[in-house]
Amino acid sequence: MTRIIQIRKPHPKGQLKRLWQNREAVQALVGRQFKSRFEKPMVGLSWMLLQPIILAGLFAIFFGALVRVPSGNLPYPAFVFVGIALWQGVQRALSESANVFESAAPMLRQTSLPRLAPVLANVIGASIDVMLALIVAVFAGLLFGTTIGLSLFLAPVFLLLALIATIGLAAALGGLCGAWRDLRQTIALGLQILMFASPVIYPSSLIPEQYRVLYALNPYAGVIEGLRFTLLGGPMPDPLYLLISASSAFAVFIIGIWLFLSLEGRAADAL
């Protein structure tokens, strides 16, 4: 129980151990966040499903029916629903985490909880939304005539990759925007760019072959293609590109955590 307080160097192993010891605190944070989102409800929990349904419907009309974005052998509404379901969660986790040193300040000022805990809570909270929305996406797909097969059991692998990449990105943004608050101005723009760099509303087969390796460096490229493959019976993604996306997810995770641990001291000075 001895704690030594001195100049902090990034010490990922110790920090992750402390996070694990404080897992119940993370759980409590997720619960509190969830509760405060649905406090004083007008519609309540249905928002979690209504939002992706409405957005997917909108995209289905504009990009599916009007622009006729190709979606391979999949009906476009189901195709885009999977993309939207994941993207809404990613967007929420990242924009909340960029703000973490402000939104979690009351708690970080009172307890010596690892400062990564609220970041992790943001991502876990958002992944609950994603999971629910994806379940709806599967049923929506069946409605539009997609099939599900044994590949369904591979879906958790892709969800896990999404989780790993998102934790890394959320940590990076939390550290950077905590240390230099003006960076928060760029979050909305950055998220838009990232969305267009991911196959959310279009298939990655639209990307010219010579850029596909570069494109696969975006972890969400592999994740979304993989989810369409497993949840809707879409085409099997190229294993090479999947491998690139998966490695990139782990790289993003490691770099993000390292960035957060190197910058958290600077950010905490404002607490």
Binding site: T2, I5, R8, E39, M107, Q110, S112, R266
Partner: protein
């Protein structure tokens, strides 16, 4: 290991803040030849030791670094030099209400606090009972804390921090709110907790209180220690320093 009975050992602890928008100005401009970041020394070269069951009173004028010292000890802000070794579980009560969430009820805040402060599962019920008994808020505990008076809010916060199983408790001006009766209750708690071997660091301007509760004293002035030693001497030093200025 020398001095193993020390629960807190602070050696040459220092903290500097980068001025200029807290991030230390604009690092990109500085790299391109702008002015270097300015720093402020909030704490410099602080040394003290505290043993089991002892209390340290930290005094000093506004802005002398008292709260920064507690924040560093609590692990909320990282020091920029030196070391502090704390043996045991650390609790902190650094602002009134200790982070109670205004939308949650008293009970919900307690449940939250139990998890944040790491109260073991089996001891949770006992913790809730003790907190409820100590803060004496009764049926008010079912209401969101935003409906509490500031005194009631302070009582809940104090009880949540004090009843957690900690060995070292860091308290910043804890008794400022709360009525007379509650203050007496807090005193009683401090004496009993010290007898049980818990240690305290108090930051306060209430010198008679510090004289009663503490064995040791630390006087801070502009981030430096003017005096470290017995509480009597510390109070004399602080009083003459204040009179001198």
């Amino acid at each position: 290991m020398p001095c193993n009975d020390a629960v807190i050992e602070v050696v040459e602890l220092g903290k500097t803040f980068l001025l200029g928008n807290l991030g230390g100005g604009r690092p990109l401009y500085q790299k391109l030849g702008g002015e270097p970041a300015k720093v402020r020394h909030a704490l410099a070269d602080i040394n003290f030791k505290l043993t089991k069951g002892e209390a340290l009173g930290v005094m000093g004028r506004n802005g002398s670094g008292k709260s920064t010292l507690l924040k560093v000890l609590a692990g909320i802000v990282d020091p920029t030099s030196g070391t502090a070794i704390l043996r045991g579980r650390i609790g902190a009560l650094l602002e009134i209400g200790s982070g109670a969430h205004p939308d949650l009820s008293g009970w919900e805040n307690m449940r939250m606090a139990a998890r944040l402060l790491g109260v073991p599962k089996l001891k949770r019920q006992a913790y809730y009972d003790k907190v409820a008994q100590f803060c004496e808020l009764g049926s008010k505990l079912a209401e969101p804390t935003r409906w509490y008076s500031s005194g009631q809010f302070a009582r809940l916060g104090f009880a949540m921090a004090a009843m957690a199983p900690t060995d070292i408790l860091l308290i910043d001006e804890a008794l400022a709110a709360g009525d007379m009766r509650f203050q007496l209750k807090c005193f009683d708690f401090f004496y009993r907790a010290k007898a049980e071997g818990r240690s305290f660091v108090f930051v306060s301007h209430a010198l008679p209180v510090l004289r009663d509760l503490c064995e040791k004293g630390l006087v801070l002035h502009e981030g430096k220690a003017l005096y470290t030693g017995s509480v009597e001497e510390a109070i004399n030093c602080y009083e003459s320093n204040t009179a001198g200025n």
